[in-house]
Symmetry: C2
Subunit: 276 residues, 2 copies
């Protein structure tokens, strides 16, 4: 099976694919998130995997927008513990580092460490890609922030490990496919909907879950393009569409919602501390 991800080889997304599907799948790097979606839509890859949320930085809004744009289904979720390394070119040492390059989210997650080092931070499109940038520079004062796997892949120097300011650093990934799947066991469901812009509209919408004791795990609002200050709502909740209470809640919601789309039901991935 071929699974598409965004970024260079060694990206956290690639680590998540190998952890979720195992090492027998073929991972396919894509330059953009959009390409991950189209690669799956066109059947070039059977699955894609994209980050949707980080426990420190919040949601990856681009992927919420792409879920809406493409007619794909969410078939799984995976929580990856993100452990950042400071990586230099071979031979580099920490006191030499003056400039640190990485994805803005990785830089934000290591803000304290970067500040303590007195280094300047510069944004790059992805973590593994920032390793390639500093390899090309061949300057020992440049370092990047990326995963251990990426550093090992490019045979670079790991100067420090676990440099994130908060160790409760997880990224939630979603797997996407052209075909929906009906999960067995403990499940979660994701939907997206729009409401009339009137008082109490969201309250009514949430009543369909609350009055059935369905546990919401996430609510996210995104701007409706072309309608300033109106929103799309993305909700994740416990349960599968195969369960009667869930299918009834969605029928009920469709009475209030202007538009409603099921993004998918999938097996719930619990963190080791039991939450998720």
């Amino acid at each position: 099976m071929k699974v598409a991800f965004q970024g260079e080889r060694g990206a956290y997304s690639e680590n998540a694919i190998l952890a979720y599907y195992g090492r027998q799948v073929t991972t396919v790097p894509c330059e953009t998130f959009e390409l991950v979606f189209t690669t799956v839509q066109e059947g070039v890859c059977e699955r894609g995997l994209v980050p949707i949320e980080n426990s420190l930085a919040g949601s990856v809004h681009r992927n919420y927008d792409l879920l809406l744009k493409h007619q794909l289904s969410i078939t799984g979720e995976y929580h990856l513990r993100v452990r950042h390394c400071l990586v230099g070119i071979p031979g580099a040492t920490i006191p030499e580092i003056k400039q640190i390059i990485s994805h803005p989210q990785a830089l934000a997650q290591c803000e304290g460490f970067v500040h303590q080092l007195g280094a300047t931070a510069s944004p790059a499109y992805d973590t593994a890609g920032s390793l390639k940038i500093i390899l090309e520079k061949a300057d020992r004062s440049f370092a990047a922030i990326a995963s251990r796997q990426a550093a090992e892949l490019y045979q670079m120097e790991i100067l420090a490990e676990g440099i994130e300011d908060d160790p409760a650093n997880f990224t939630r990934f979603l797997t996407i496919s052209t075909q929906p799947e009906i999960p067995t066991g403990i499940a979660k469901t994701s939907i997206v909907f729009t409401l009339k812009n009137i008082p109490g509209a969201l309250y009514k919408a949430l009543s369909v879950f609350a009055l059935r004791d369905i546990d919401l795990t996430k609510i996210e609002s995104r701007p409706l393009i072309g309608k300033p200050w109106e929103y799309l709502f993305y909700i994740d909740f416990a349960g599968s569409v195969a369960e009667k209470s869930v299918s009834r809640a969605l029928e009920n919601l469709s009475e209030y919602a202007l538009t409603l789309r099921l993004l998918g039901s999938y097996p719930r991935h619990l963190l080791q501390n039991g939450s998720a």
Copy 2:
């Protein structure tokens, strides 16, 4: 009066300050959003102004997090129509442009234009700052995306104007101060709260507004640092804390919320089409 903003001179935030407060105030550029908040907290500037949301790109989460971290009050809001220009060094022409530099949000908002041009996009920390980068490069194949005001300030070439993919492009800014103000006239109020992680918690919280016909204008969830997949909720709604129904709704909410903080009541800024 001195008003702090993030970015270089010519930034959209500086345009918003001049539009909101008029040209008699002194604008004070700060390198980071964090510095805008501390500059106001320490009394160096009487006010700060920060972007909180864009109608295409969504919320500026960093500023939601900083509102929580600092004990400042929101005293005003302003909606700025964002009209991007493609800007080159003096003498440059459109067919020469191969590389475009700007803030990732500006690049995202002009994705169609950049793609049509066949140029490569590279991220920078801010729009006005990207002008300085290309001035230093002194290479006619580099362009930046910034406002007309910024291009004029740095005496650069405006190659195209209004290059954003969607013209309904507004950024909402908030003004912050050490002292809360009680607005007269049509007002809005912003709060932040946390809830028990149990089914129906958000539904109960929203009931305090819905059952009093108080109109929510925005809901935003942000991760609780150190507690993966638990959230802070930021809500904006119509009305001022000086109104009885609002103060009662907040008293009622404090019965359900684990924590609740009033961020401020302020005059509502209506867009010309009446929404906001």
